[in-house]
């Protein structure tokens, strides 16, 4: 059941979206954060062969089976995280970026992130005044089991505070902000270490941006269900 081929016809010049029938796994090796278990990863590859031509494109990604949930715990007022149904005590570190000349390398990310795992942390929070971190950052968080809290590019200092208040309505171009946010989500959404998208640092984004982010990022109804028949 781990190899599936589907036949699809794509009209000339068209761009279509295709969903495979779901692949079922029995007792898959789950991905766990640092300290809770192994960071099992599967190599998922997708290839497309065109009749009369041969292999046309290929794509691969390391994927981890895990379920991450979080909610505001009424008793403590804090955000409580669960991974694969297990509550987890978050030991997190702040992250701004590796280097202010953006000389970002795999080696640097591997060293920085392994350091966080060696310090027995299990979450890294990417501050809103820094970057949407890069795929190589997330890859090593997958490998070493660091959950990632990724903020979008709004900060309490620059957006909507201060005397006089600066940028009360955030960036000038909200459509550009949402275009960048959507493209960033597509770039990072398959990494098992990605645990939480956050609108900004110590500040709620402008209403239209915040509403659009919440709407785009809510779990697809297909996965809301708690029983299989709703899925089928």
């Amino acid at each position: 059941e781990h190899l599936q081929t589907q036949h699809v016809s794509v009209p000339p010049g068209a761009r279509i979206q295709y969903t495979f029938p779901k692949l079922s796994f029995y007792k898959p090796n789950l991905w766990w954060p640092n300290g809770l278990g192994k960071q099992s990863l599967y190599n998922v590859s997708i290839t497309v062969d065109v009749k009369g031509y041969g292999e046309s494109d290929t794509w691969g990604h390391l994927f981890g089976f895990r379920k991450i949930e979080s909610h505001i715990d009424r008793a403590t007022g804090g955000r409580l995280f669960k991974v694969n149904g297990q509550p987890i005590f978050i030991r997190g570190g702040n992250w701004i970026l590796s280097d202010c000349l953006l000389r970002l390398s795999k080696e640097r990310y591997k060293t920085d992130i392994k350091f966080h795992a060696d310090m027995n942390l299990n979450m890294i929070r990417c501050w809103g005044g820094g970057l949407a971190e890069r795929p190589e950052f997330y890859h090593y968080c997958d490998v070493y089991g660091l959950l990632v809290w990724q903020e979008f590019w709004i900060t309490g200092d620059v957006d909507g505070r201060g005397i006089p208040i600066s940028n009360p309505d955030g960036p000038l171009d909200h459509d550009l902000f949402m275009l960048c946010a959507r493209d960033t989500v597509k770039l990072l959404r398959n990494y098992p270490s990605l645990a939480l998208w956050v609108g900004g640092n110590e500040q709620v984004p402008p209403d239209d941006i915040n509403t659009a982010l919440k709407n785009d990022l809510k779990l697809h109804p297909l996965f809301e269900s708690h029983s299989e028949n709703a899925l089928s």
Partner: protein, 262 residues
């Protein structure tokens, strides 16, 4: 026939300040390409920022040491043109038949004009967005392709008040870009506001149909003993005929040692 897949363009880049280059992008990528790191051209750090390139070539002091950052002119004083830079490289690629080539920029800060073999394309504003340009029809027949990128700094680089502070005068917040670059309580201002080709540049060869942004989601039942993998992808047919495709998904895990379970 070029091999299907992605190739990083991460070596052989040159850079020059735009105000020191008389030529146009079309001339740079046709009749007058730079021949090497001779003034005003220098070896460039790509991916990286303009300042990374200037530090590498010792054109400016290293801002990480002492108060050297104070020696580097801030964009607020120099003007945006001073940190508007050309980046240039060459790449080999010979397609055959129904093959297609994309030129990909995973992130640029803040906007850019791309010239390939004399053809101009624009990379719109925004620090956190990818750009993918289909360049199949403008490749050189001999396989040697000339690429020049003119990178513009953020629109609102701001000015650092004498007292510094978190985010300087907050002007950078008007753009969709990283905000720490105007300085914070933990870092001095970054003089070029991180202008540059700050993430990977690649070319990717495909056949007539291209796979775009697959999305993988897992769902669980019976205490995680039963799981499903849901996969959705976009497909683009860039040919002029209907493409009958076989779409394959394969999941393999590395068992202990080097045994692979398919």
């Amino acid at each position: 026939m070029a091999e299907i897949g992605k190739t990083l363009l991460e070596s052989g880049w040159l850079a020059a300040r735009s105000t020191e280059v008389e030529l146009t992008g079309s001339q740079l990528t046709t009749t007058h390409p730079p021949t090497g790191p001779s003034s005003p051209w220098m070896e460039a750090v790509v991916p990286g920022t303009v300042l990374a390139t200037l530090v590498k070539n010792k054109v400016v002091a290293d801002p990480f040491y002492g108060l050297e950052n104070e020696m580097i002119i801030d964009i607020a004083d120099s003007g945006r043109e001073y940190y508007k830079f050309w980046f240039f490289t060459k790449f080999q690629c010979k397609l055959s038949g129904a093959q297609h080539l994309d030129l990909n920029f995973r992130a640029i800060n803040y906007s850019a004009e791309v010239y390939l073999n004399g053809h101009k394309m624009v990379l719109p504003k925004g620090m956190f967005r990818r750009h993918s340009l289909e360049v199949t029809d403008i490749l050189n027949p001999d396989g040697e392709n000339l690429l020049a990128v003119l990178v513009h700094p953020p629109d609102h680089p701001g000015r650092i008040p004498p007292e510094g502070g978190q985010g300087g005068d907050h002007e950078i917040g008007k753009d969709v870009a990283t905000q720490y670059v105007e300085g914070w309580d933990w870092i001095a201002p970054v003089r070029d506001r991180n202008t540059g080709i700050w993430d990977e540049v690649s070319i990717s060869v495909t056949g007539p149909v291209k796979i775009i942004d697959p999305h993988l989601v897992s769902s669980f039942f019976d205490q995680y003993t039963r799981a499903y993998l849901h996969a959705t992808t976009e497909l683009e047919n860039r040919s002029a005929w209907v493409a009958d495709c076989s779409l394959n998904i394969q999941v393999a895990t590395e068992l202990e040692g080097s045994v692979c379970l398919i």
